[in-house]
Symmetry: C2
Subunit: 382 residues, 2 copies
């Protein structure tokens, strides 16, 4: 798969209202340009569940996400490298971001043991002993050949007390330096991850530490981690409203693990450029559908004879081709095709939401767009 060698990751904001924090921009990666704001569908094990690359291309994400933790365990990053890297392995030639594996080690793995060097843990698949360190996280991502790599962070639990959080963040800063020191492939960029929970002052201090490293060797982007992990929504939003705009304006900003349509709107409003979340695809597999007229539950018997698409405003393959009656039938039967068709729609909705937000930002009408969309999302089942 062809790579662009003059990738620079430098973010250009083209939004109509440059005084507002919301950004509509673009940056260049090793596999093409990314228009933002952008939602990244999650392809944990080298596949967006149930979706072929042709279907994914049709859904139209700017970037997709692959999981370092899962791919390093199965099939193994060395195997992926031998197969020509993740792009070729999974048949996707657009930009790919890989996470660092940290979040999964802290949420999925068993018998975790941490020290300054890294984390030893047992694979959740076969119990085999594994080790993850900043150096190993970089090695895995170099093997995968993703366009955007994430530095390894320690992922503290959602509501960790402040003093313990500070200890954890100090380690994440040291790990950030070690991550930065590992050479990557020529086309790859590295994003730093900011921690600090809901403490604005800790986030600022952590960012200042990252900027010291950045002054020596610049990061290609900045991520906000450790949010959307169980804290009250108001606390998350309060941090975002104050903090995102303080991240370097000339680099992409990525809010990790978010989220719902409402969360995307809030993030975009405050200057976030990139999002990822399993929610739209996972919800789809459970028959919970996002539409421009509100949410609907496909399991509901009222759809049984409904000769309407999921979303009359949607032009995805599912909405162009099938009735709710058919999709209700597939869902009740547990048919594989139902998972695929619902996922195509929910991802098209979510990717489409960020695309529409971009257009609204370019045309300096984001507030009206966001208000209209929020109202729609609150309506009764459509």
């Amino acid at each position: 798969m062809s790579q662009i060698t003059n990738r620079n990751f430098l973010f250009q904001d083209e939004a109509g209202d440059l005084a507002a924090p919301g950004r509509a921009g673009r940056f260049l990666t090793g596999h093409g340009e990314v228009l933002t704001p952008a939602f990244m569908p999650v392809g944990t094990q080298g596949t967006v569940k149930g979706i072929t690359p042709v279907q994914l291309r049709d859904i139209g994400p700017q970037v997709i996400l692959g999981n370092t933790y899962h791919l390093s365990l199965r099939p193994g990053d060395a195997v992926v490298a031998q197969m020509g890297g993740l792009h070729r392995f999974m048949g996707w030639d657009g930009p790919i971001l890989t996470d660092s594996g940290g979040f999964q080690v802290f949420s999925l793995a068993d018998l975790r043991k941490m020290n300054e060097e890294g984390v030893t843990f047992q694979s959740h698949i076969d119990g085999s002993p594994q080790f993850l360190s900043p150096e190993r996280a970089m090695e895995i991502q170099r093997n995968l050949g993703s366009d955007i790599c994430m530095a390894l962070d320690e992922c503290p639990p959602g509501q960790l007390e402040r003093t313990k959080l500070e200890v954890s963040m100090a380690r994440t800063t040291r790990w950030l330096g070690r991550s930065r020191a590992v050479p990557l492939q020529a086309h790859q960029g590295l994003f730093a991850i900011n921690q600090g929970g809901t403490h604005l002052d800790l986030r600022r201090r952590h960012l200042a530490e990252a900027m010291e490293l950045d002054a020596k060797t610049p990061f290609q982007g900045f991520a906000v981690g450790g949010l959307s992990v169980g804290e009250p929504k108001e606390q998350m939003n309060a941090v975002l409203a104050e903090f995102v705009k303080e991240l370097p304006a000339d680099r992409p900003r990525y809010l990790m693990g978010v989220g719902t349509p409402e969360d995307l709107l809030f993030g975009i409003e405050h200057g976030v450029d990139l999002f990822d979340c399993v929610l739209p695809s996972r919800e789809a597999r459970h028959g919970r559908i996002l539409t421009s007229r509100g949410r609907l539950n496909l399991k509901n018997a009222r759809h049984r004879e409904m000769d309407l698409p999921l979303d009359p405003d949607c032009s995805c393959y599912t909405c162009k081709t099938f009735s709710r009656a058919y999709l209700h039938h597939l869902f009740r039967c547990g048919e594989l095709l139902g998972f695929t068709l619902n996922t195509i729609h929910n991802l098209s909705y979510t990717v489409g939401l960020t695309r529409a937000a971009r257009q609204a930002l370019l045309e300096n009408r984001f507030p009206a767009f966001a208000q209209f969309t929020r109202t729609r999302l609150k309506t009764e089942e459509p």
Copy 2:
């Protein structure tokens, strides 16, 4: 969806060697022409499992099969009719054949009670009481709007003793008359089903009875039922070798529930035009792959780092796009996409086999083609 009203179902044989029983032909249905020999993928519940209509079109079957039993229980044939028929419901505008429901009632349903009128049984889904008769089987298929309907037959167990089989066949003949008497939609044709187990004389007698009915109102085709239900393969083949050529030459001949590539070759060799079987798609979901070089088991660790397509001679989407290493990975992870990609390949292989057989028949080189293919199928795992 557009229907062809001048459908005639009359079979034209275009094979190079008209003296040989093998046929390469065509007939016209309500949704287009069918080139034979043809393998029909099975879409039990209104979907070929895991495959979208776009992917199905790419696989290229001439006809697909839908199951009367399943669709009548869920979503119900009245719902399908209300949604504009099965073609529109499932987004497939090519020819569809529906079975009569008999085989499933006799294999899946609980608490079966038979009498001359029909069969009462409990749904295998929710235990609800159900009734199937020749009239009801026709009503369901009229509601589904399939192009080819099957008359309801009693499906006797594989090795039923001869006297009991004769009683069952006599009922099937009476039911055939009742099926024929029910008006269908203008575009629909009706196929008769021949029973008689492995007794050639019983099959001949049963065919003679059907031909009496046929003389009054012609059937659009003839099916051979009650084979491939557990009897020794040599007995099945002995019947086919003698009997298929005795079916009316001007109507399509359909061997139900068959089968393996070897069985397709044998059937084609002896004059069968149509086949259906869940085997290629079911095997695909279990990682058992049919290829032009022999069968392979994707689970096998030898594929883990193999940068080759499943079948280097295959031009399906799966083979054009993905390595065995990737498909092995998806299979080991139980990823949905693996089921889809393996199914695309196995169906492409099987549909392609009948297409290649057709070409060989047209060019009067079927014996060499069949021998070559059989040898290939016997080779070690490729």
